[in-house]
């Protein structure tokens, strides 16, 4: 299998789906000359023409709104928002419009659209440009929320998202674009709503998603050197949430830690932990620990940012905590 970066994998997914389906369009801020803020769309305009790949003004509200209308009109738009932070300017279109059309209008129309946005901290972009806002969108019925961690999943999930007939908020992580991994060529589809065990283990279940999956795997490697075998479950999709895979693992390990880059309170780990204790209470030998970001508007200074974001060390500590080895 070819080794591709996360960026290339996403680029291939867009390219293949545009080839496959005339109705797929790509638009957003600077997706043409700039190739998107992170270069994912570069070259697409040249190859598919500016009728299918085009720039928009800086106006996230209409970028998302036009995607809703385009989808209702028979197209399959893939709209790029430079970062998830700006999705807050499109929150009304995504939550009050895209998510409602299907059910509110009695099922007469679906809205097959994908909103791609970059999330995550770690590049010293300060508080308005370093947020992880997936929980806000994952809270909303009518939406699907996808957060790939690896190049293979990035490609397979984006292809599935584009073919999906529902509105999908597809959140990429800024620090993953350069990460390489094996990616199956051509028709590689990863179903939405399916978590994956990225590493098997018997002692503890570590539930993560997006970049934190890699952090969890790093921690798992270190743990195994100490004789602790952690099973790492990558949620991949946050809505719909695949608890079956998580519960299967917890029933085996009897212990769980969740890892997220977002703020702890009212985050993703809270839902996962609640579901685990609801559905596997008697299987639990210890309280579920959550590893999450310090709850602060992310500062610019490197020392502060690094201390705010979860790392393998903190996952390690949490795992030992639940194993009573702290």
């Amino acid at each position: 299998m070819p080794m591709l970066t996360y960026r290339e994998a996403l680029h291939h997914a867009l390219r293949e789906e545009m080839k496959r389906d005339e109705r797929v369009l790509v638009f957003g801020e600077d997706v043409v000359a700039y190739g998107g803020a992170y270069g994912v769309t570069s070259g697409l305009a040249k190859d598919f023409g500016e009728k299918r790949v085009f720039d928009t003004p800086i106006a996230e509200g209409i970028i998302a709104g036009a995607a809703v209308g385009a989808a209702m009109g028979g197209l399959r738009p893939v709209a790029e928002l430079m970062t998830i932070n700006f999705a807050l300017l499109a929150a009304d279109q995504i939550i009050n419009h895209a998510a409602k059309v299907m059910h509110m209008f009695g099922g007469q129309m679906a809205v097959p659209l994908v909103i791609r946005a970059v999330g995550g901290a770690g590049a010293q972009l300060a508080s308005t440009h370093s947020q992880n806002l997936e929980a806000m969108f994952a809270h909303v019925p009518g939406l699907k929320v996808v957060t790939p961690a690896t190049p293979a999943d990035a490609k397979g999930l984006l292809k599935s998202a584009i073919r999906d007939d529902d509105p999908v908020v597809f959140i990429e992580h800024a620090l993953l674009y350069r990460v390489r991994g094996e990616v199956p060529e051509g028709e590689h589809l990863v179903p939405l709503g399916k978590a994956e065990v990225k590493r098997e283990g018997k002692d503890v279940t570590v539930v993560a998603y997006s970049r934190m999956t890699l952090v969890a795997l790093e921690a798992a490697d270190r743990l195994s050197q100490e004789g602790i075998e952690a099973e790492v479950v990558d949620l991949r999709t946050l809505r719909p949430l695949d608890m079956a895979t998580v519960l299967r693992s917890v029933r085996k390990t009897h212990r769980a830690v969740t890892v997220e880059e977002a703020w702890r309170s009212y985050g993703i780990g809270a839902e996962v932990a609640s579901r685990i204790q609801e559905e596997a209470f008697d299987d639990l030998d210890a309280p579920i620990q959550r590893v999450a970001a310090v709850e602060v508007p992310m500062p610019y200074a490197k020392n502060l940012e690094q201390a705010a974001i979860p790392d393998a060390r903190r996952v390690l500590t949490a795992v030992k905590e639940v194993l009573g080895k702290a």
């Binding site: 009728k51 036009a66 209308g69 989808a71 059910h103 509110m104 209008f105 009695g106």
Partner: protein, 332 residues
């Protein structure tokens, strides 16, 4: 106040059948609205109910300028637009009742009428929120070469929200076939236009995007038709977006909850003198197009249709509880 455009508004150009149909539609809408208001008072209809009384000429005139493949999208004050676009009053009434036979299966209610079969794409309740959606519909229309024009209707209040400007800008940049029709009924809820907008002439806002725009007398169904025909033709021939500002007035409150403390009787009376239905009737009579028996016939037909709509709604079943877990996703 409704400064007339140059648009020729003599009935002469149209045949009797067409002219009477306009009268029929306006009366049907008026009666549907009065009945809806009555049923709301009786607790048969709930939620928010925004009636269209007084603005009928805008919907009927504008929709008459559309071709079957054209689509309309509007805000929550949508009954008149829906009926004028050809939706079935029975299923509309059933929607107000929250019945399974409603145009949105009882999920949407008054603010969310929708019928893809006649190209009526909602009924949206976030002020201004559907305007960007209209631009997307226009994009699809031109991209898929549907020879389709999108008519987007909204109120004066909606022209102060960012969406409106973002949409006009992008519509012009993408040169999409969208006609933006603002129903300026002088108030957004209880706020007069000049208290919410820096300029009173809403159509002038289009100049910031070099989009052609004009004001129309929204109490004159034929003036509305002619102005819309011109705007639609412009859009269909590839001229891009066009803006219309229809000067009109709502005879009733903003919604059923409105005590109407913000406008005085005199103003209301002044506008009621210009009731679009009365004016059109008089004119058709003067021009010898409308005979007493025609009117009786139209009155009877519209009365019966509204009564039938109520019967249909009353007799229809409630939506099944399975609707709470099904139909949320196209690909569950």
């Amino acid at each position: 106040m409704g400064g007339k455009t140059g648009a020729k508004t003599s009935a002469s150009g149209l045949d009797k059948k067409t002219l009477l149909h306009f009268l029929y539609q306006m009366l049907l809408i008026r009666k549907f609205e009065d009945k809806a208001g009555e049923l709301y008072a009786r607790g048969k209809v709930a939620g928010f109910l925004h009636l269209y009384n007084g603005e009928e000429a805008v919907a009927v005139g504008a929709m008459s300028a559309l071709e079957p493949q054209d689509v309309a999208i509007t805000h929550y004050r949508d009954h008149g637009h829906a009926i004028a676009k050809g939706m079935d009053p029975k299923r509309c009434m059933a929607e107000l009742y929250g019945k399974a036979t409603g145009v949105a299966k009882g999920h949407g209610g008054s603010m969310h009428f929708f019928d893809v079969s006649v190209g009526f794409l909602g009924g949206w309740a976030i002020v201004g929120g559907h305007i960007p959606v209209a631009v997307g519909l226009g994009l699809a229309g031109s991209h898929l070469r549907k020879n389709q024009v999108t008519l987007c209707i909204f109120g004066d209040g909606a022209t102060n929200i960012g969406y409106f400007y973002e949409s006009l800008n992008v519509a012009k940049l993408w040169n999409v076939p969208v006609v933006f029709l603002c129903e300026n009924n002088l108030y957004g809820m209880g706020t007069a236009v000049h208290r919410a907008s820096a300029i009173r002439e809403v159509y002038r806002k289009a100049a910031a995007f070099d989009i052609p725009a004009e004001r129309v007398d929204g109490m004159d169904v034929l003036a509305m038709r002619e102005a819309t025909l011109k705007a639609v033709a412009h859009a269909r021939r590839g001229g891009g977006p066009y803006c219309l500002e229809a000067m009109t007035y709502r005879f009733r409150g903003h919604s059923m909850a409105d005590p109407i403390l913000y406008r005085d009787k005199a103003e209301v009376e002044e506008w009621k003198v210009r009731d679009p239905i009365v004016l059109f009737q008089q004119r058709l009579k003067e021009e010898g197009v409308l005979m007493d028996q025609d009117l009786e016939h139209i009155e009877r037909e519209t009365d019966e249709l509204v009564a039938e709509a109520v019967r249909f709604a009353e007799e229809s079943p409630e939506p099944p509880l399975t609707d709470l877990t099904e139909g949320i996703y196209a690909n569950p």
